[in-house]
Structures are given as C-alpha cells and as structure tokens.
Amino acid sequence: MEKFLWCILLLAKLMKISKACCYCGTCVAVCPSNALELCDCESVVVNEKLCIKCKACEKACPVGAIRV
C-alpha cells in the first residue's frame, strides 16, 4: 500500500506532456538544465533528475501541452 502511494506521489510530481504536443522543440530550446530532449520526431524525453521545475517549457509551449 505504501509503495502504491509513493508511486502516485511520484507521478503527481513528474512533468506531464499531453497529447497536444506537436514536437516543435521550443521547450527543448528554452530548458536551462538540458532536461528535455526531442528524440526521433515523435517524442519529448524528460530527464527528471535534471529538471529544476522552472516552468520555462510550460510557458514557452505554443499549444500549452506541458504541465510542470
């Protein structure tokens, strides 16, 4: 049970990129800690360890697809 709660807590803390994402790369270009990467052409990969929760990506996203 405790593990389950931890998982939920962790998921709530993680950065979310919704399906509205168009893979334009704007978030990658503004990320100050290189936590984001546009892989292939159909995925934005988040390195949670590097993310400093500054919300630059959230503010820069043209379609509002990111929640930090």
Binding site: C22, E37, K59, A60, G64
Partner: protein, 387 residues
C-alpha cells in the same frame, strides 16, 4: 560507412551546406530525422526575393505560393502604415516543396540524402569529432566522418553535445502558432502585420497571402500568460475578414529572437541556421540567413578539408565569415527590436500616426520638425535608433 562530412538536418541551411560541399567534390551525407523533408512546416514562409536570388539557386514556380509587394502594418489602435511598393519584393514560399527541392539540389550535386534518420550522438575521440551515430527505422549505425554540420534546428542537439551554449532564454523565445486558412478575404500581394499587447505581446500577428483567399495567419508572443494558440484564436475571432475562414493546417513552433549564439563552431562542428540562432530578431525570418550560412559553412569546411585541419582554430573562419555576411544586419535588427520592446501600445500608436502621415520619398523637413515636437522623448529616441 565512411564519408567526409555529415550534415544533420535537411532544412534550407543543411541542404545548402550539403550542396556546397558536394559540388566541391566532398563525400557528404545529409540526414533528416523526419520521414519527409519539409514536413511538417515550421515557418510562416515569407522571404525576400533579392535574398533568395543572391544565393544562386534555381527558383521554381512550384515552390512559390505567391509574390508580395510589401505590407500593411497595423498599430494597436488600428492605424494603418502602408509599406508596400509597386514592385514585387517578397515571396511566400511553399516550404514543404521548397525544402524538398533544396535537398534535391544537394542530391543532384552528389550528396547522399537519408530521411527518417536520426543523429542521436556524436563519436568524439581526442577532443575531435570522428563520427555520428545514426538511427534509421530501428537500425543503429555509425558513420565515420571528419566534421559535422549541425543544422538541426532550435532544439539543436549537436551544438549541445560539443558544449556550445545554444540555449535561448525564455524571455527571448517567441512562442508561435499559425493556421493556414482558406476562404478568407485577403490582398493577394500584400502582407498584413498587427502589433499590440492585446494581439501579440512581445511579437506580432501576421497574415501572409498564399493565394486569392488562402493565407498563413499566425502570431508570435513572448512573456504572456496564455498559449500562442489561445492568442491566435482570439486574434482570428476579432478580425472580420478572417473570422469565417476554414483552417486547413496548423503550424506551431518557437522562434529565438536573442540574436546569434555566442559561439557557432567547435572542434569538427559548425552550427547553421536555427541551431546557431541565425534568425532576424526583429522579423523572426531566417530562411535566407540559414541558406547563406549553409553555403559559408560548406566553403569553410572544404578549405579545412584541403588543409586537413578541422580544429576549432581552423573553423573559427566560419564565424568570421558569416559575421561579415549577415552579422551587422542581425545586430541592427536586434537594436531595433530592443528599442521596440521598450515602447507601450500608446507610443506605438503615436509612431504609426507619424509614419502614416508621411509619404515615403516626399518627406519635408518642416513635417519632421512639426511631428517631432508632438512626440514623447522615448519615441524620438527609438526613431533615432532606427537611423
């Protein structure tokens, strides 16, 4: 596989670099991560005729959607400043075909083109680039090479991999959204630009005609609390001639407006186009700049190949030459942009009133003195900065 150069990214910058290199006899591989070159479009597609012609490429009717004679610029209160001329001065391109043809020109010159091929890492040995790790479909492989051209867009991975600082501050990144709209009432050969805090804070909105009743309608914003898409919907709803149009395409993306990155070269790597932020900070346009820098990168790398020296010192020549070619224009735009940022909507309206009352070519000294008496000092300072 082994070749002389790998060009990462088949946009205008990358394709021109590959074309230049291949024409001089080098073995070049041009890779593009997307399955099809030019798609999806990330551009408002306007460019200057002069700039494009100066590059000496074959201009085909196929990739020109329309020709423009200038623009109508609207201030926040709707004052019109007419900056159109009689002659055609700009193209609205069909980027999906334009980009493809540039890659075809590169291929015709002898470059090998591979799409759906993603450069996921560089092979770096003894502080020099020795190859690029590529992934095509699910196959991963290494291509050994002597130098790499990073033309991989705003999200440039190549630059970061070799330690070049390509990050754009949030305040210097415009967030853009654009609809291709049909069934709207536009001037076929005039662009429309709209300024103002309500319309597009930190940027502007545009209507670029691509035909009789079809246009790219979009905007770029900075430091705003809503997304660009929201602003665009509001903008279209507020304009009578756009409101009833149908949307036939959506384009989104970021345009960096901070001016070029500090350093655009490293051991065995040069950055071109959006990757080096070769974007005009005032207009957000970068097609011709990217292409010019692509050609320069090609020329410098060929010289480096002849000397067999791809060190940082040798490639510094690239930065020197692109600064000669476009540096002063970029810096001038940056100054104007910074001046423009300081003005509020009211001041923009005042400037628009001054400009709309003047006719280009027939400015009287008396007019200028009369007008300058009415203007606040900030506005005069800005106008002086333009000169």
């Amino acid at each position: 596989m082994r070749c002389d150069f790998v060009v990462v990214g088949a946009g205008p910058g990358g394709s021109m670099a590959a074309k230049t290199l291949a024409e001089k006899g080098a073995k070049v591989l041009l890779v593009e991560k997307r399955p099809e070159i030019g798609v999806p479009v990330r551009c408002a597609e306007a460019t200057g005729i002069e700039g494009l012609k100066a590059l000496g490429i074959k201009i085909k009717e196929k990739f020109i959607a329309s020709r423009t004679r200038g623009a109508y610029v609207y201030s926040p209160d709707g004052t019109l400043v007419d900056i159109s001329g009689k002659e055609y001065s700009g193209y609205i391109l069909e980027r999906r075909l334009f980009d493809k043809y540039l890659a075809i020109y590169a291929a015709e010159a002898g470059a090998e083109v591979r799409t759906r091929t993603y450069a996921y890492d560089l092979l770096i040995k003894d502080n020099a680039v020795k190859g690029v790790f590529l992934k095509q479909f699910n196959k991963r492989f290494l291509v050994e090479c002597k130098a790499v051209v990073g033309a991989d867009g705003i999200e440039s991975k190549i630059g970061r991999r070799v330690g070049l600082n390509t990050r754009t501050k949030l305040s210097q990144m415009t967030s853009n959204a654009q609809f291709e709209m049909v069934g709207i009432d536009v001037h076929e050969d005039i662009m429309e630009l709209y300024f103002g805090r309500e319309v597009a804070p930190g940027g502007y909105a545009w209507v670029f005609p691509k035909g009789k009743d079809i246009a790219n309608v979009g905007l770029g914003i900075r430091n705003a609390n809503k997304s660009a898409l929201e602003y665009l919907k509001n903008f279209i709803n507020s304009k009578k001639h756009l409101r009833n149009g149908k949307i036939s395409g959506i384009v989104v993306g970021g345009v960096p407006v901070q001016g070029p990155v500090e350093k655009t070269y490293s051991n065995g790597v040069v950055l071109v186009g959006d990757a080096a932020r070769h974007v005009d900070p005032l207009t957000g346009g970068g097609i011709c700049n990217a292409m010019k820098c692509g050609v320069i990168a090609g020329e410098v790398l060929i010289e480096a190949l002849e000397k067999d020296n791809f060190s940082e010192e040798s490639l510094a020549e690239y930065e020197k030459r692109w600064k000669q070619a476009i540096g002063s224009a970029l810096m001038r735009s940056l100054r104007v942009k910074e001046g423009l940022e300081k003005l509020n909507d009211e001041q923009l309206n005042q400037i628009a009133k001054v400009l709309s009352s003047l006719k280009f070519g027939s400015v009287d000294l008396k007019d200028i003195t009369k007008i300058s008496e009415e203007l606040p000092p900030e506005v005069i300072e800005f106008l002086q900065g333009l000169l």
